[in-house]
């Protein structure tokens, strides 16, 4: 009996574990099943270079088609797993096919959170997660004049920056008092807000959309909770994602905010792992169970489980990091800010280059950097090594963090 590995999900995490199994010398059959019709591709450029026409579809692919056959990875695109039979270690596919597994990896990803208001189903209301959605958004952007983005998180703000760089009138509506509130501190939120505002985008915080009005089936205007109308011929909704957990839940695996896994990214079934956006794991960095949505998380968890399956298990302990590019601003985050009680700023926000170091007690827990790549890299290393750094040292821009 061969030791088949079946990977459910053809996104960044799914691709990565397939590739890493081969890098690690795993020689048994590997199946990679993705429900999108494309070869595995990169999502980060969709909101940036792709929608503005600077990076075409073929340049999004993680690897060419020949790579999969060349590495004995059986890629099933446009195919979907509809059930897991744990007792017989089989998955059932939509096409009717069944696959046996020795190890099953759930890299199921997530879906867009839908906005539930009147008019949200009108033509001209878009979401962005998949390549298919990005192709539609790109086409609509070419025609649009007034673009309204609902949601001031990373995806929403990246789309807003792209739309503004194409010369569109852009408005961003955020429900919370500040932008990216879940991910960064107040000084970064404010810096990004003013960066968008200076370039002519209207940012409306602390607001919600009551309804979207159409002309026929086409969206024309939206109305805020305070009654203010805003013209819009393209509305992009970026209000977060919901992890895909149904398949795990139906198979009787514990699900919280994501599929619950241990430090080896294993579910309660020792033959089933979950990685990437859909997995909730115990983080050594926050001391809590977290579910992260990032390329780094998808890649490093894929590598980690590949090593475990290949017989070299180690607890997952990679430092989380994130990035967002908006206009010419590069925002980079390392670590997790959960529960921080103190922060210091390194560099001058007015210069457009600064970092914010967050501490939980005496421990550095996260660093957000604006156009300070060296700080970001140093932060990743400091966090990985659990190096003790005082807030005073962090704030001293003349101190070279690399020597600590």
């Amino acid at each position: 009996m061969p030791d088949e590995v079946v990977i459910v999900g053809g996104g960044q995490a799914g691709y990565q574990i397939a590739a890493s199994l081969r890098t690690e010398g795993y020689a048994e059959p590997v199946f990679l099943i993705g429900d999108e019709p494309h070869l595995p591709y990169q999502r980060p450029p969709l909101s940036k270079a792709f929608v503005v026409g600077k990076q075409d579809q073929t340049r999004l692919l993680l690897r060419p088609e020949s790579y999969y056959a060349g590495h004995q990875i059986e890629l099933l695109s446009g195919e979907k797993v509809i059930g897991i039979e744990r007792s017989t270690r089989k998955v059932r596919l939509k096409s009717g096919r069944e696959l046996s597994y020795s190890k099953l990896v759930l890299a199921l990803g997530a879906r867009n959170r839908r906005l539930q208001i009147p008019g949200a189903d009108l033509d001209g209301v878009c979401y962005l997660r998949t390549l298919g959605e990005a192709v539609e958004l790109k086409q609509r952007l070419e025609q649009a004049h007034d673009v309204v983005v609902i949601g001031g998180g990373f995806v929403g703000l990246e789309v807003a920056a792209s739309a503004r760089s194409l010369g569109k009138n852009v408005t961003v509506i955020e429900a919370l008092p500040r932008l990216m509130a879940r991910a960064v501190g107040t000084s970064i939120s404010e810096f990004i807000r003013s960066a968008h505002a200076e370039r002519g985008t209207e940012i409306i915080p602390d607001a919600h959309v009551a309804e979207i009005r159409g002309c026929g089936s086409k969206a024309k205007q939206l109305v805020l909770g305070n009654g203010r109308p805003i013209d819009a011929d393209l509305i992009v909704i970026g209000i977060g994602i919901v992890p895909h957990t149904d398949l795990a839940h139906e198979a009787g695996l514990p699900v919280e905010n994501g599929i619950a896994v241990d430090e080896f990214l294993r579910t309660s079934d020792e033959n089933i792992f979950a990685i990437g956006d859909c997995a909730q794991y115990p983080s050594a960095f926050s001391g809590s169970r977290v579910r992260l949505e990032s390329v780094q998380n998808a890649v490093d968890q894929g590598v980690s489980v590949a090593r475990t399956i290949a017989g070299k298990p180690a607890p997952y302990a990679a430092v989380p990091w994130f990035w967002s590019d908006q206009f010419e601003i590069r925002l980079q985050m390392a670590g997790l800010p959960h529960g921080h009680d103190r922060h210091v700023v390194r560099g001058e926000p007015q210069s457009g280059k600064f970092s914010v170091f967050h501490f939980r007690g005496a421990m550095l827990c996260s660093v957000d950097s604006v156009n300070r790549p060296a700080d970001h890299l140093a932060a990743r290393k400091l966090l990985a090594a659990k190096t003790v750094l005082s807030p005073e040292q962090a704030a001293d821009a003349s101190l070279d963090l690399r020597i600590l």
Partner: protein, 107 residues
């Protein structure tokens, strides 16, 4: 189209035509060459497309900026004076014949 030669750590040579404007990293990834990982997709964020550039071509490359310099300090294999991130080398006609050697590992 400029020809780029990629040499693996084990000494295997791959000669690839890479269109002007694309990066040396993309040339490798689009042809499925192992040895260049490019986790971040070419955003100068991960240092997994590290290459050692043939000395003869170094003068033709743009200066290493602050961002690349920081990333090169984080490569899995040792940084050398001819280390570059291949995502930061845009192919142009003068780079025809460029030779890059790939490190033993990227992660």
């Amino acid at each position: 189209m400029p020809k780029i030669t990629y040499i693996s750590h084990a000494g295997e040579k791959f000669q690839i035509d890479v269109p002007n404007g694309e990066s040396v990293m993309e040339g490798a990834v689009r042809n499925g060459i192992d040895g260049i990982v490019a986790e971040c997709g070419g955003s100068c964020l991960c240092a997994t497309c590290h290459v050692y550039v043939d000395e003869a071509f170094l003068p033709l490359l743009p200066a290493i900026d602050e961002e690349q310099d920081a990333m090169l300090d984080s490569t899995a294999c040792e940084r050398m004076p001819n280390s570059r991130l291949s995502c930061q080398i845009a192919v142009r006609p003068e780079l025809d014949g460029l030779i890059v050697r790939m490190p033993e590992y990227q992660k």
